[in-house]
Point group: none
């Protein structure tokens, strides 16, 4: 019986639409996914807790129950057209690892907690790794609860609703101390597949900065305003987007993305008066992120000087590159070798909740291969044998890590 | 007494709402506006006729009453958040010109008819210049009457209603021959104001082509797909938009606009997999539109060759430029010079009923300045002295044109 595959299939039905899975934080689907996590936890009598932003924890007791727990998890939310594995696999694998410890009657020193972090994707509210940021103290709880989505609904209101909010009859957790954090995740890139290796041990998570750019121009009649007199916000934005792309390519070891883009009034016969877009810059090297940010600011400055627009850049978020803990990495490598499996070291281009956790506790990540390197799309996939091998590696790593962490 | 200003003020009360004037074809407001036109006509005993799509004509007899009439007019309908001048001014000015001829006991050879064209804006039924298209035979009467609005109401039904339909006790006109057509309109652009000239003589109404462009790329994770392996639909679209802008500037006497722009999936951490946008190209010179269209197609071809995307262009509409009649333009210039006023030649970037009329008769247009170049908004405005000067220029032009047209 392949529990991890079955559980992922069950979870993937929640929020599924025509173009993939859409399960943003504090949506109906997100709430149902948390309920499913709670159902799995209750079936083995793991003690459930949740915190005020919707992070949910399922605890299997350890020999020393006063010891700080080892947390193992990932997130349940998705991008608007997401797949069945990103985040979800790490949560399901964590629960499956607890079950494997239970089935083998493996006694750990530390309590082990499977955790489902809230709102990692930042798809609805303007903050990525929302749940783990609040848990680790990187973001203030009240400020985070006051964040509003595109419709003006605050996270506070969404989490207060019965339909989309916190779970019923699950106690609120205040405790945030832990001894270590482990996360297993799909690679979301092409490296493991290309190298023909089934497991990866993450060396470091790329640093990431996110920005909101607004270009204010002047809307006008598409037929009557001469080109030379236009303040076309879309043309100015296009120039900034291409400058950003050129800079990321020239600087290297860096990616820069404009993923969200909106023009106003968005009518065929009206010159766009306003454009707003997101910018996301990532690199394992903070100096390279600095260089791309400078290029972005210079480009906006050129637009302001040469076009009849006013472009402004607001930095929403800056996360430094996050190196993974070397002792935990070595423990994972030992566990995988003892299984008779192979793993390679590789960096993570994507951000993960582990990025936040590594600021407060020893943290490490395991990757499993992504078919075709695809993720954040409906076709994102990992082979069933890789999913199962990942759970085994995660379980063995928990046992190995449990031996030495404080 | 400033009749034109007073009449415009009276007319502007009809259909006025919070966000401007909303007076679509065959609405209650449109019917009331036609009734007001009829009242003005009757007060001077001009002979009223109407045709089956709601075009209304007020005829002042000429010396040769068997001669084809000179038609002078514009339209009474507005866009949903329109102003008091677009179209309305041309209709009111035409009635005021007839009154001025009457007041001065000016005898013309030809009958002069003020005309209020139906449904120029295409705001309710999916056809712009609806009334003048049917009058000039460009569109079939029965097909046009069968057009339905967004609620499914046909123009036939709307015009059959007492509330919104054809006028009572006004005979139906079958005759469509004419000797010339004159239209006075607000500029809707910034040229006259910038040049400090109170009158413009339109050289040509720009041709217009509209396209739908779709760029299909590959969405992917903003952190894990290296720049060199991306098929970013937004970057490709940005390049096409800037190529289009550059082409329109380089080719000159042309405007190109991308007014509507949408990316998918439109999430900050997902590389855009698809971009869709509108393109609107206008020029008084069809060869220049051809050249801009070629640049657009070449740019899309380059994107397809150099980027991992597939860009496709669909042409939705192509309207040839409408050159104004050179003899009529010269006659207007003579009339304005004789008044001791100044005028400049300029093209019209916006479409007008004159576009249709020029296919069947010598046609010319006069522009008055738009404050701030604004139009299709509640704040659209023209100074009272410019409105009055326009009526005087139109009246003098009618007299001049009457001397030589057949």
């Amino acid at each position: 019986m392949s529990t991890v595959v079955e559980r992922l299939a069950e979870l993937s039905q929640i929020g599924r639409g025509e173009n993939g899975i859409d399960r943003p934080l504090a949506s109906r689907g997100d709430r149902l996914a948390r309920e499913l996590f709670a159902k799995w936890a209750r079936s083995h009598k793991y003690a459930l807790t949740q915190d005020r932003v919707g992070n949910v924890f399922a605890r299997r007791s350890g020999a020393r129950d006063d010891a700080r727990p080892i947390l193992v998890g990932s997130h349940l939310d998705t991008v608007p057209t997401g797949g069945a594995y990103d985040g979800a696999y790490g949560v399901v694998a964590a629960i499956c690892a607890l079950d494997e410890l239970e089935a083998n009657e493996t006694r750990t020193e530390h309590p082990i907690e499977a955790v489902a972090w809230a709102g990692e994707e930042g798809a609805r509210f303007p903050l990525g790794c929302l749940g783990s940021s609040v848990f680790t103290g990187a973001c203030d709880l009240e400020k985070t609860l006051s964040l509003a989505d595109a419709d003006g609904t605050t996270l506070r209101d969404a989490l207060a609703s019965r339909e989309t909010g916190l779970l019923d009859r699950v106690p609120i957790r205040e405790e945030t101390r832990l001894s270590a954090y482990l996360e297993i995740h799909i690679e979301q890139g092409p490296v493991l597949e290309r190298e023909g290796v089934p497991l990866g041990i993450v060396t470091s998570i790329a640093g990431q900065r996110r920005y909101r750019v607004a270009v204010q121009g002047t809307s006008g009649h598409a037929g009557t305003v001469p080109m030379a007199r236009r303040g076309d916000a879309l043309c100015a934005a296009s120039e900034i987007i291409l400058d950003l792309e050129r800079a990321a390519i020239a600087i290297g070891e860096t990616v820069a993305t404009v993923g969200m883009f909106v023009v106003e009034p968005n009518a065929a016969n009206v010159i766009p008066g306003r454009a707003r877009f997101s910018v996301d810059i990532r690199s394992p090297d903070d100096a390279k992120i600095d260089a791309v940010e400078s290029a972005l600011r210079e480009s906006a400055g050129r637009a302001n000087a040469r076009r009849r627009v006013s472009a402004s850049i607001e930095r929403l978020e800056a996360r430094a590159p996050a190196p993974m803990d070397s002792k935990l990495r070595a423990a994972i490598a030992r566990a995988i070798t003892a299984m008779g499996e192979r793993a390679i070291d590789l960096p993570s281009g994507a951000g993960h909740d582990a990025m936040c956790l590594c600021r407060i506790a020893p943290t490490a990540m395991i990757f499993v291969p992504s078919i075709g390197g695809k993720s954040h799309v409906a076709e994102e996939e990992t082979a069933p044998e890789d999913l199962e091998r990942g759970v085994a590696a995660l379980t063995a790593s928990i046992v190995e890590v449990d031996k030495f962490v404080i």
